[in-house]
């Protein structure tokens, strides 16, 4: 088993600019109202801390176990990916996820999700959200490395539910 990949947010420096949100939307060509990454805004919430979250690529992903068609699967490196051609739009994954993650696309009767831009990672590139971060404080690496960098499972505005999420937050100090 390869090491589990995960997001790392150095939360002290997140300024609530939401570039990660639209960076993600543009790569996945989402409809305007569909956000696979959600972030708080310093204009909607003038006092920090701010936070950005997408799929947590959980170690025990509920979305994978409930998927009746095998459309949602977990890769060897722990990234949860989704095959839109196999998806039947049953939304079981949305109901099972404690973090309200996959999003249903009504017109296409399927879901769409964060896959950590796995295809870009495989090509030696970085996820769209990571690239979009002007502060350079949203990154991806193995959970091992993210914890060595000071990352912990919970952040301000993010509490661990079941399913062992792999997102890590460097606490605000």
């Amino acid at each position: 088993m390869a090491s589990q990949m995960g997001f790392l947010l150095d939360q002290k420096w997140c300024i609530g600019c939401q570039s990660c949100v639209t960076g993600c939307q543009m790569r996945h060509r989402t409809p305007d109202e569909v956000q696979l990454r959600k972030a708080t805004s310093f204009e909607q919430q003038p006092v920090g801390p701010w936070i950005t979250v997408a799929c947590n690529h959980c170690a025990d992903p509920a979305c994978v176990s409930v998927c009746p068609t095998g459309a949602t699967v977990k890769r060897e490196d722990g990234i949860v990916v989704h095959d839109p051609e196999v998806c039947i739009g049953c939304q079981s994954c949305i109901k099972a996820c404690p973090y309200e993650h996959p999003v249903y696309l009504e017109e296409e009767n399927r879901i769409i999700r964060c896959d950590m831009c796995a295809a870009r990672l495989d090509a030696g590139d970085v996820p769209a959200c990571v690239e979009a971060c002007p502060m350079k404080i949203l990154t991806v690496d193995t959970v091992e490395n993210n914890e060595a960098a000071g990352g912990v499972p919970e952040g301000a505005g993010f509490t661990v539910e079941s399913t062992n999420p792999t997102t890590r937050f460097i606490p605000i100090r």
Partner: protein, 782 residues
């Protein structure tokens, strides 16, 4: 791409889903199968394919062979993102930041990320249009040919010139593209306007007061490189919010802190930097001058300034001392709504810092006393020896001091207008304009409402046509209700060049479609970072859109002007801009030329310490020193040092008005908008949501306003009815002040007014700039 002949633009813009259109339309036409996600193998047991299998959404446009075109975000923004557009068979499929550029570093902002939505929006105007039916919200337009549009416009212009005179043709331009050829300040469109004898517009929306003020102190304007924020010991954010306006610079503030530096924020309204700041002082809007003079007094009284430096490089210390002695700490505290301790802590922290940078925000100077404020702040780095001594010391206002280009070659003001383009802070007073040798009437953005209505300074001066390009005055200009009234006048013929059916375009008789960033070659220079950039067009213009230069040349020829300058294309203008007749300015480094820049895409100015040359050779002031006392200011009738003249609307300046309208209304920039750009783009509009009025709990309680209530912000100029109350504590804004995000489009807010129906048209003390911040209001529940 939509090509409807009759376009309805009223009642809010429909949310277009162009991306789907792109997927099945343009991309399919480009020979790609689909933009829809597709697992590469079609194998439904992806988990068996293991790490590095490629499983995950892989989009055809990502794997397709394409060309990468280097460009620049052309908006009126400090940062000027370097971008790379991937083009596949003539279609732009991806826009990413240029990772090689250290400053914007591969990360366009929340808005810039959405440029493909913007470019391919079905809302774009791509054909000339004429209005059918009445002016105003809900206006209807019908497609016409360029030939008919040009004929209509030039026939009317000729008629106006014959009857009322050429100056009755009034341009409006600001922002849109900030390209130095197609843009607003010195652009090639001005050749056409000056040749026609139209009124000459001072584009003084933004920075005029500060640009005018700084040379009286230093002789020239030389700002630090924002990449040096990382290396300074004290970073002062004064009336600025980089997180909204220059998001790429914030990482250098982070690095400053990580390197052991301190951060101080001076701002009446909370900004993200307050999370990290060692000190945040909420001075009352309009009172920066007494605060700065209070700091000066402490530095002088306590002897904590650089005496040797001041002795050697500065003049007028005695007069500065006399001006500062008027501001003992207790008086400052009372005037600025801060405490004596806050002032003293600031002064001592500033004095102690081995190196410091004050980054001054634009809102500081958008006030009737804006130039005085910038001048007062400018004394601080001089007293502490921060000028010319270190690359990470001094001030950052904006780097237009390094725009060493031949603007007059592009606008041809000297030849056609009698003097170079007026305004922008390069002229300080109206008297200088009157003596300036301009062949045609000079008008100003600041009191543009008066221009349109032939009132105030412009009483008796006819306005019969308005020519709008790169601009949306009905959103951005102060005293906006009167701007609307002016555009609505039956006798005023309105031409709008735009990409969108803006609120302004609803008043157009003729709309001319213009190109966007992916279609327009131009030269851009940052006004925060130290870069000059070339934008290479990535795709062919949509529909019949023309660049501003093509538009201006077409109109000039139809007016009958045979001057050879109207045959110049953008490359010719770019060459004239950069190289002139003598070659590029050495500030740009070796071998700079149009062709070199085109190949390199962007180039940073070679490193130097701002003002180090001036320390060695003398400052460009009359005395050759940093001038605390300026005879030139005295000659213009201004205080030779600086004095506190309260804002044109303020508790100190207009107590009677303040009794009726007791709240200072700060109208601040949103991170989601640049000028008025992007409010019509779906993803951004949804992120932006309903704009808030940030109001202190004490002010809210006194008015029976609860969090989430719709409110009206009002004064004698108008009622802004588009804001929702966010009731906050002293940790966001102090009682007595309210803040609202500026530049929202009424037509995407059900026709509700934005903040600018309340903002005033006062002209700033230096440079004839705007006074958005001199704005007293009251608030009531809607």
């Amino acid at each position: 791409m939509a090509s409807t002949d009759l376009k309805h633009s009223g009642g809010g813009l429909s949310r277009r889903r162009f991306l789907q259109g792109l997927a099945v339309g343009t991309v399919a036409a480009a020979g790609l199968t689909s933009c829809a996600p597709a697992a590469d193998s079609g194998d439904d047991s992806l988990s068996e394919t293991g790490e590095g299998s490629g499983a995950g959404y892989q989009y055809d446009w990502e794997t397709a062979e394409g060309e990468i075109v280097h460009g620049v975000c052309p908006k009126n923004c400090y940062d000027t993102c370097r971008i790379c557009t991937k083009v596949v068979d003539g279609v732009a499929v991806q826009i990413r930041g240029d990772k090689d550029n250290p400053y914007t570093a591969g990360s366009p902002c929340v808005k810039g990320q959405t440029y493909l939505d913007y470019h391919y929006s079905e809302d774009r105007i791509i054909y000339p249009m004429k209005r059918v039916g009445p002016k105003g919200p809900g206006a209807q337009f019908e497609r016409i040919s360029w030939e008919e549009a040009v004929q209509t416009v030039t026939d009317r212009f000729k008629e106006i010139i014959a009857n009322e005179g050429s100056e009755a043709i009034v341009p409006y331009t600001f922002s849109g593209t900030f390209g130095l050829i197609n843009g607003c300040f010195f652009s090639g469109v001005l050749r056409f306007l000056y040749r026609m004898g139209a009124s000459a517009l001072m584009p003084n929306m933004c920075e005029a007061a500060g640009v005018a003020a700084l040379p009286y102190t230093f002789g020239s304007q030389k700002d630090v490189d924002p990449e040096q924020y990382a290396n300074t010991k004290l970073y002062v954010s004064w009336g600025s919010n980089l997180s909204a306006t220059s998001v790429h610079a914030v990482k250098y503030v982070k690095q400053c802190i990580e390197n052991g530096g301190k951060v101080v924020v001076v701002n009446p309204f909370r900004i993200p930097l307050c999370e990290w700041a060692d000190q945040w002082i909420k001075i009352r809007p309009g009172t920066d001058t007494p605060f700065a003079l209070g700091v000066v007094k402490i530095l002088l009284d306590e002897g904590i300034y650089d005496k040797e430096y001041v002795e050697k490089y500065c003049m007028g210390l005695d007069q500065l001392k006399a001006a500062a002695d008027l501001w003992p700490a207790e008086r400052v505290a009372k005037t600025c709504d801060c405490t004596v301790e806050e002032l003293q802590t600031f002064a001592r922290t500033y004095a102690e810092a081995e190196t410091s940078i004050i980054q001054i925000g634009m809102q500081v100077n958008r006030d009737s006393n804006g130039g005085s404020k910038i001048r007062a702040i400018s004394f601080l780095p001089a007293l502490t020896g921060q000028i010319g001594t270190n690359a990470a010391a001094g001030f950052q206002w904006l780097t237009c001091g390094y725009w060493a280009l031949n603007f007059d070659n592009v606008s041809m003001g000297t030849e056609l207008l009698g003097a170079s383009t007026p305004g922008g802070g390069y002229v300080t007073t109206w008297d200088q304009i009157k003596d300036g040798g301009y062949k045609y009437r000079v008008i100003n953005i600041t009191d543009y409402a008066d221009v349109l209505n032939e009132t105030g300074r412009y009483e008796g001066e006819p306005c019969r046509a308005v020519f709008v390009y790169n601009g949306n005055p009905l959103v951005s200009v102060p005293n906006n209700k009167r701007v609307r009234e002016g555009l609505a006048r039956d006798e005023v013929f309105v031409v709008v060049s735009d990409k969108w059916y803006t609120d302004t375009a609803d008043y157009a008789d003729i709309i001319l479609p213009c190109t966007d960033l992916l279609e327009t070659e131009d030269i851009h220079q940052d006004y925060h970072g130290w870069y000059i950039n070339h934008n290479t067009p990535a795709v062919e213009p949509a529909g019949e859109a023309k660049t501003n230069i093509e538009m201006a040349n077409t109109l000039a020829k139809a007016m009958g002007y045979t001057d050879p300058c109207f045959d110049d294309d953008i490359p010719a203008l770019a060459k004239a801009l950069i190289e002139g007749t003598e070659g590029a300015n050495p500030i740009y480094g070796p071998n700079m030329s149009y062709e070199t820049l085109k190949q390199e895409h962007w180039r940073k100015l070679p490193d130097f310490v701002p003002y180090a040359d001036d320390l060695a050779n003398g400052f460009a002031t009359p005395s050759g020193k940093i001038e605390f006392y300026s005879d030139r200011l005295k000659e213009l009738g201004l205080h030779p040092v600086v004095e506190y003249i309260p804002s044109a609307e303020s508790k100190d300046g207009t107590p009677d008005l303040a009794a009726v309208y007791p709240l200072n209304f700060l109208t601040v920039t949103s991170k989601n908008l640049c000028g008025s750009n992007w409010h019509n783009i779906g993803k951004i509009r949804l992120l932006h949501g309903d704009p808030y009025l940030y109001i202190n709990e004490a002010d809210a309680a006194a008015r029976g306003i609860a969090d989430g209530d719709a409110v009206e912000v009002f004064n004698d100029r108008g009622v802004c009815n588009s804001l929702t109350a966010m009731v906050v504590g002293d940790d966001v804004i102090a009682a007595g002040n309210v803040a609202g995000l500026k530049s929202a489009w009424p037509k995407v807010m059900d026709g509700k007014n934005n903040v600018n129906v309340t903002t005033p048209s006062y002209t700033s003390d230096y440079g004839m700039g705007t006074s958005f911040q001199a704005n007293l209001v009251d608030v009531r529940k809607a």
